[in-house]
C-alpha cells in the first residue's frame, strides 16, 4: 500500500466517502436487525419475520415506518436537552470511529459521472497513522450516550443502566487495549494499513495464529463494548426494564440502535483487519471480497453467541474482566515481549 501509487486524496473524495459510510452503515444497521432476527430464529428452530414482503425481507421497511411514526416522548421531569443529545452521541461516536478504519476498497468515480467524475475515493476516510487507537478512543467516548441518557431521564432503571454503562465500558476498555497491544507490538505500528501489509503472506501470516489468546480476548471485550448479549447488562430486560433506554421511544431509541450496530461493524472490521489478514487477497479470492466475508463472519459470530449464551450477572461480568481476562491479557503481553526480545 504505497501512498505514491495512489491518486491524491481530495477533500471531495473524503466527503463522498463520509456520505457513503453514513448511508451504507446506517442501512446495514437497519438490515442487521432483520439478519439478526432471521439468524436467531433459525438457531431456535423458528422462521422469524415472514409476513411482510417475500421471505419477510420488507420487515425492515415496516420497522422503519414504525420507528418514524412513533410518538416522540420526552419525560416531564427529565433534563430535556441532555435527553435529546444522548442518542446522537451514541450514533455520532460510532460513525466517527468508522472514519479511520478501511470500510470499502479504494475506487475512482468514472469520468462520465457529471460533476464528480474522476474523483478518487479513498478506502479510509481519515488515514491517520494511529488508526487503532483512534477507534478505541472514539468507542470509549461512545459510553457517554448510554451514560447521559440514563442520567437525564429521571428514572431509576435509567440510573442503574448508566451506572452499569460506566463500569462495564471502563472495565472492558482495559481488556480491549491490552489484548490489542500484543499485535501492535508484533507489527510495531498503530496504523491499520501496516497491519494489513504485515499479513500479506496468505492464510499462515494472519496474526490470529500468532496471537490466538489476544484474538479471543478482543472478541470477548468487543461483545462487552458493543453491548452484545452475554454482556448486554446496560439494557437487561429481565432486570432493569430497558436500562438506559427505558424512557426512549421512536427515532431517538432508533439512534441508539443504529449506534450499536455501527459499533458492531467497527469491531468486526477491527477484528478482520488486525487479526484475520485484512483486505489481502487469499488464493483466487480478491481482497475486497475477503474483507467483506470476514466482517460478515464476525458479525454473524456475534449473533451466534447471542443465540447460544444467556446473560450473565453484573458481578460475574466484573469477575470475568478483572480476575480472568485482564491477567490473561497482561501475561499475553509479557510473553509476546519475551518472545520478541529473544
Amino acid at each position: 500500500m504505497e501512498a505514491a501509487v495512489l491518486p491524491e486524496v481530495t477533500s471531495a473524495g473524503v466527503i463522498i466517502k463520509a456520505i457513503i459510510i453514513l448511508a451504507v452503515i446506517a442501512a446495514i444497521a437497519g438490515f442487521g436487525t432483520f439478519i439478526e432476527r432471521k439468524v436467531l430464529a433459525f438457531m431456535q428452530r423458528r422462521l422469524g419475520p415472514m409476513h411482510v414482503g417475500p421471505y419477510g425481507i420488507l420487515q425492515l421497511v415496516a420497522d422503519g415506518i414504525k420507528l418514524f411514526t412513533k410518538e416522540d416522548i420526552v419525560p416531564q421531569h427529565s433534563n430535556k436537552i441532555i435527553f435529546k443529545i444522548a442518542p446522537v452521541i451514541t450514533a455520532a461516536t460510532a460513525f466517527i470511529a468508522l472514519a479511520s478504519v478501511p470500510v470499502f476498497p479504494d475506487f475512482t468515480i468514472p469520468q462520465w459521472v457529471p460533476l464528480l467524475g474522476g474523483v478518487f475515493v479513498p478506502s479510509i476516510a481519515a488515514d491517520i497513522n494511529i488508526g487503532i487507537l483512534f477507534v478505541l478512543g472514539m468507542m470509549a467516548a461512545g459510553l457517554y450516550g448510554p451514560l447521559l441518557a440514563g442520567m437525564a431521564q429521571a428514572n431509576k432503571w435509567g440510573i442503574i443502566g448508566s451506572a452499569r454503562t460506566a463500569i462495564q465500558f471502563l472495565s472492558y476498555e482495559v481488556v480491549t487495549g491490552l489484548s490489542i497491544l500484543a499485535p501492535i507490538m508484533l507489527v510495531g505500528s498503530l496504523s491499520l494499513v501496516d497491519f494489513n501489509t504485515y499479513q500479506t503472506g496468505g492464510l499462515t501470516s494472519w496474526i490470529l495464529w500468532q496471537q490466538p489468546v489476544a484474538f479471543v480476548l478482543f472478541l470477548i471485550a468487543g461483545f462487552a463494548e458493543t453491548n452484545r448479549t452475554p454482556f448486554d447488562l446496560l439494557e437487561h430486560e429481565a432486570e432493569i426494564i430497558s436500562g438506559y433506554a427505558t424512557e426512549y421511544s421512536g427515532l431517538r431509541w432508533g439512534l441508539f440502535f443504529i449506534g450499536e450496530y455501527a459499533n458492531m461493524v467497527t469491531v468486526s472490521i477491527l477484528a478482520a483487519v488486525v487479526f484475520m489478514g485484512g483486505y489481502n487477497d487469499l488464493g483466487f479470492l480478491p481482497g475486497w471480497l475477503m474483507i467483506i466475508l470476514k466482517i460478515a463472519f464476525v458479525f454473524f459470530f456475534m449473533l451466534w453467541v447471542r443465540a447460544s449464551w444467556p446473560h450473565i450477572r453484573p458481578d460475574q461480568l466484573m469477575w470475568l474482566c478483572w480476575k480472568v481476562l485482564m491477567p490473561i491479557a497482561v501475561i499475553n503481553v509479557v510473553i509476546t515481549g519475551l518472545f520478541m526480545m529473544v
Binding site: S11, H77, S78, N79, I81, I82, I85, I128, N129, I130, L133, F134, L136, G137, M138, A140, A141, L143, Y144, L147, L148, M151, A152, A154, I159, S162, A163, A166, I167, F169, L170, E173, S189, L190, Q316, W319
Partner: protein, 188 residues
C-alpha cells in the same frame, strides 16, 4: 485555510463549553460540557499533527477521567439544579486575578517565540508514538518511572480502602458475613 477555520471553531466551542461547565448550576450540563470540551481539546492536538497525543487525550480524559466523574455523579439527582452557597468574594478575586494573569502570559508568549528552540526536536521519519516513546524513555525516564510507582501506590491504597470492610454487610449490617464462593459450573 481549513486549519484556521477548524482552530477558531474549536477555540470558540471549547471556551463556550468550559464556560458552561463553570457557570451552569446543573450537574448534568456541567459534566456533559466538560466532557465535550475535552473532546474538542483533542482536536487541537490533531490540528498540530500530534495525532497520538490527541488520541491519548480522548482515551484518558474523555474515556476514563470524565467517566469516573460521571460515575461519582450517580449518587446525586442529576436532573435538579444545585444551590451554590459560595459567597466568598476573596476566592473569586484571587481566581479571577490568576486567570487574567494567565491570559496575559498566554497572549504575550508569541513575543518570545523566536527565541524558543525545542531542546528535544522530533526525530525525522519517526512516527508520533515513536517520538513520544523516545523522549519518555531517555530524558524523562525517571519522572515516568516515578509516575508509575505513584500509580501503583494509589492502586494498592485504593484496594486497601475498598477491601477494609469487605466482610461487613451493608444490607443486614452484620460483620463476618460468609462470602459466597461459586463453583465453576455455577459461574459458567
Amino acid at each position: 485555510m481549513y486549519e484556521q477555520i477548524a482552530f477558531y471553531l474549536f477555540s470558540v466551542l471549547t471556551i463556550g463549553l468550559f464556560l458552561v461547565t463553570v457557570l451552569s448550576k446543573n450537574l448534568l450540563y456541567a459534566m456533559t460540557s466538560l466532557a465535550a470540551g475535552m473532546v474538542l481539546v483533542s482536536g487541537f492536538f490533531f490540528l498540530l499533527g500530534a495525532d497520538f497525543l490527541g488520541v491519548v487525550q480522548l482515551i484518558v480524559y474523555v474515556g476514563a477521567v470524565m467517566a469516573l466523574y460521571a460515575f461519582a455523579m450517580m449518587f446525586f439527582d442529576a436532573t435538579k439544579d444545585t444551590k451554590e452557597n459560595n459567597t466568598n468574594g476573596s476566592w473569586i478575586f484571587l481566581l479571577g486575578g490568576l486567570t487574567a494573569l494567565l491570559l496575559v502570559m498566554m497572549f504575550a508568549a508569541p513575543i518570545f517565540s523566536e527565541s524558543v528552540v525545542a531542546s528535544y526536536p522530533s526525530v525525522e521519519g519517526a512516527t508520533n508514538p515513536q517520538n513520544v516513546g523516545m523522549v519518555l524513555f531517555t530524558k524523562y525516564l525517571i519522572p515516568f518511572e516515578v509516575a508509575a510507582v505513584m500509580l501503583l501506590v494509589a492502586m494498592i491504597a485504593g484496594i486497601i480502602l475498598a477491601g477494609k470492610k469487605m466482610d461487613h454487610s451493608l444490607t443486614t449490617n452484620e460483620d463476618n458475613i460468609e462470602v459466597k464462593t461459586l463453583s465453576k459450573e455455577e459461574e459458567l
